[in-house]
């Protein structure tokens, strides 16, 4: 049997890690105990977040959690799934990637170029904004300093907010000192376990959609050495995983909402007009073109064609999604 070294940059008890504890239990069962874990390293104990994918590819760890946001140039096609305003349904999004991984060779090839096999893709939760004052309209967010990275920062800036880039680890103290008034680019399940609710007056659903794509990868040499039945189990699980993953996300989201309600936090959902207004201010079509352009420079694959295929696959899967961002109205 094989005993694997696992590495992740997230905490042992985080919602995203819980899904993978279940995953490994299931994988072990389906391979009759053949594929198991030897050591687990959480919170970047073995490999830094930005180096996770490379660390697995080089064999420092056998399996590991990765987020395409940390290495968008290494996975140009996959990282297109992080485009804002695509979908709120994270299970559909990761199912679409899993499906295309099998049916669209360029996608699989970009993982193999990094010397990894994709094992599973998370179902992400739709991005929220949390701020330290009571807010009843998108206009009231103007002038607030929010933690935001990447193009969410651009969206925030275009709409009059002040984006402050920082890692999630710095959010707590920055909220405490007032260096930021809030946070953006965060899944709904996160504010409760990270204790940010202490400094949160309103949780906002801005309708930006899911914004991160993370998953589990295995070193390709380790994968190739596995017997066929293990490989089959892995392929099965890749397809099944999004539906299981979203259940953990929903539980985490519900826990965050319950805690927020208990603490008297207000909830606000952007009206459809407000969502459109935000999209317009950032010039969304130009943003999409920019994304396609930067990715096209980094792969021989046809990124624009991939985006079309991805969106049609997503449209086919979306109706079956069980996810809805539950906000008390």
């Amino acid at each position: 049997d094989v005993k694997l070294v696992f590495s992740t940059h997230v905490g042992q008890n985080s919602a995203s890690q819980q899904q993978y504890e279940d995953y490994f239990r299931e994988l072990k069962e389906r391979t009759n105990g053949y594929v198991g874990l030897k050591d687990r390293f959480y919170s970047q104990a073995l490999i830094k977040a930005t180096e996770q994918l490379k660390g697995v590819g080089s064999g420092l760890a056998d399996v590991g959690y990765f987020c395409t946001g940390y290495a968008p140039a290494l996975l140009p096609l996959t990282s297109m799934a992080e485009l804002p305003y695509v979908t709120e349904k994270g299970d559909a999004l990761s199912s679409a990637i899993a499906e295309l991984y099998d049916s669209y060779p360029p996608l699989r090839e970009e993982f193999h170029r990094q010397n990894v096999e994709l094992l599973a893709m998370d179902a992400s939760s739709a991005t929220i904004i949390g701020v330290n004052k009571v807010v009843n309209s998108s206009a009231e967010l103007e002038g607030m300093k929010v933690r935001a990275y990447g193009d969410l920062g651009a969206i925030a800036k275009a709409n009059g907010l002040v984006p402050v880039p920082m890692s999630t680890a710095d959010i707590y103290t920055s909220l405490q000192t007032g260096a930021i008034d809030g946070y953006f680019g965060i899944p709904l399940w996160m504010p409760a376990p990270e204790n940010w609710l202490e400094f949160t007056k309103t949780l906002i659903a801005p309708g930006v959609g899911t914004y991160y794509t993370c998953g589990l990868a295995m070193n390709l040499d380790v994968y190739k050495a596995l017997p066929d039945n293990a490989k089959n189990a892995i392929a099965e699980l890749r397809r099944e995983f999004p539906a299981k993953s979203i259940e953990v996300v929903k539980k985490g989201d519900a826990a965050s909402v319950a805690k927020a309600e208990e603490m008297g936090v207000k909830f606000y959902r952007f009206t459809p007009a407000e969502v459109e207004q935000w999209k317009e201010k950032v010039d969304y079509p130009a943003l999409v073109q920019e994304w396609i352009k930067t990715r096209s420079e980094r792969t021989d694959a046809d990124v624009a064609a991939f985006v079309k295929l991805f969106q049609s696959t997503l449209a086919k899967i979306e109706p079956a999604s069980t996810y809805k961002q539950e906000f008390p109205e």
Partner: protein, 433 residues
């Protein structure tokens, strides 16, 4: 296990040959990683670690605070501050060292890192204590160790890391650090006072007498240091900037003060910059080595196996606790504290709480063990920071000075174990209100 023996022999051999400590760590880690996972993996770790270590912009506090210290010295800010301290507490045995502990405690209330605290206060305090003929071991020991308050008195990187790993409430943890932080500062001051009484030649007292009028009127000369600290501490607490940014603002403020003092030529400012760069390069190279070494320790399973073995026994819970703490001492000698916690806590924390120990209290104990790790040889980052600031002091002397404080630290640790309420009182009070 056999790789561990080889790695330790290689590391010791490297130190005896006179390799820089950073290269001792790097060579030992290459060998260890190669034995565990092959040469390509070892080479890949070696290729990615230098950039990975410098890509964390939070580490910029180290060079910026060191630069601030150099420039504050050049601007005469530190000399004036210590002239004032000398007038106020010069007749108190150990007065200037005690003042330094107070300065560190005040700074610790704004900075989450012990390295940043030592870097910020170290340069200012060190040359001044030496000017008043304090023994080198006392001066360097004080600045290396009083910086440790940085991770106990909130804010604290270590408490946040502990909270993230264990999912304990970070707010409660930070509250819990206040009293143990004050206790630590108090024990340091008391210890220095006792040593000054016992061996007066180590910390000579002032024979000049100053009237209260002279004392009070001297305070206005300290405006430079007051300005610097007001900007940093005030800026962080009012939320104008983060701690990393405070280091930048502090350095620029000191730069302006140096420019205002007309007789500081630019060449001298640049020289201060070069010294800060030299100290930083030395520290970062060690951090790169320590990063590789902790990858080796993690993959060797040594720490995790040991923790598993300890927690599986059914001895008295205080015996198990003691064994765990004893195991943290050798780990802390070689590992950088954050890595040490990341590797061990996923196993140690559930076991300790299952034994019925308070998880918030244990967080404080873990911070104490991290403090020890920062000043024990061979890898004690605080000690290296001080050595970088004062390159003329032999490394052995810095460790010797720090070892005095090691004794104070162990006394503090014993008090915290005997009276857990020192840690748990404030968070419980907050929960009730």
């Amino acid at each position: 296990m056999e790789s561990t023996i080889v790695v330790m022999v290689v590391f010791a051999g490297a130190l005896f040959l006179g390799l820089p400590i950073a290269f001792g760590l790097i060579v030992a880690s290459i060998v260890g990683l190669m034995m565990l996972r092959g040469f390509p993996v070892s080479l890949s770790a070696l290729s990615t670690m230098p950039y990975a270590n410098v890509s964390d912009i939070g580490l910029a506090v180290i060079p910026l605070f060191i630069l601030m210290g150099f420039l504050a010295s050049k601007a005469g800010v530190s000399a004036k501050a210590y002239d004032v301290a000398y007038r106020l507490v010069g007749r108190l045995p150990g007065g200037l060292a005690i003042s330094t502990v107070f300065a560190c405690a005040a700074f610790a209330a704004t900075s989450g890192s012990s390295v940043a605290t030592s870097a910020a206060v170290g340069r200012i305090a060190l040359s001044e204590m030496r000017r008043f003929r304090y023994a080198d071991a006392i001066s360097v020991g004080t600045v290396a160790s009083a910086g440790l308050l940085g991770i106990m008195i909130p804010p604290s990187i270590m408490l946040v890391v502990y909270g993230i790993i264990t999912q304990e409430d970070i707010g409660s943890l930070l509250l819990a650090g206040i009293l143990p932080g004050i206790l630590t500062a108090f024990i340091f001051c008391l210890g220095l006072f006792v040593i000054a009484l016992w061996k007066p030649h180590l910390m000579p007292v002032s024979h000049e007498r100053f009237s209260w009028r002279e004392k009070l009127s001297s305070i206005r000369h300290a405006w430079g240091i007051v300005l610097l600290f007001t900007i940093i501490i005030g800026g962080i607490y009012t939320g104008i900037f983060t701690v990393t940014e405070a280091a930048g603002v502090g350095a620029v403020t000191a730069l302006i003060l140096a420019f205002c003092k007309r007789d500081v030529p630019f060449a001298e400012i640049l020289g201060g910059g070069r010294q800060a760069v030299s100290a930083t390069a030395m520290i970062f190279l060690i951090l790169i080595g320590a990063g590789l070494f902790s990858q080796y320790i993690a993959l060797s399973g040594l720490a995790t196996d040991f923790a598993r073995m300890l927690t599986a026994t059914d001895l008295n819970r205080y015996v198990i606790l003691l064994l765990i703490l004893l195991a943290y001492i050798p780990l802390g000698m070689f590992l950088e504290p954050i890595s040490m916690c990341l590797i061990t806590l996923p196993i140690v924390y559930p076991a300790v709480t299952a034994l019925g120990f308070d998880p918030i209290w244990f967080g404080i104990i873990v911070v104490k063990m991290s403090e020890l790790a920062n000043i024990t040889p061979p890898i004690g980052v605080n000690v290296f920071v001080i050595r970088g600031i004062a390159p003329d002091v032999p490394l052995g002397k810095v460790f010797q000075g720090a070892s005095i404080f090691l004794v104070f630290e162990i006394i503090t640790l014993a008090i915290l174990i005997a009276f857990p309420a020192i840690a748990t009182f404030l968070p419980e009070l907050a929960r009730q209100s």
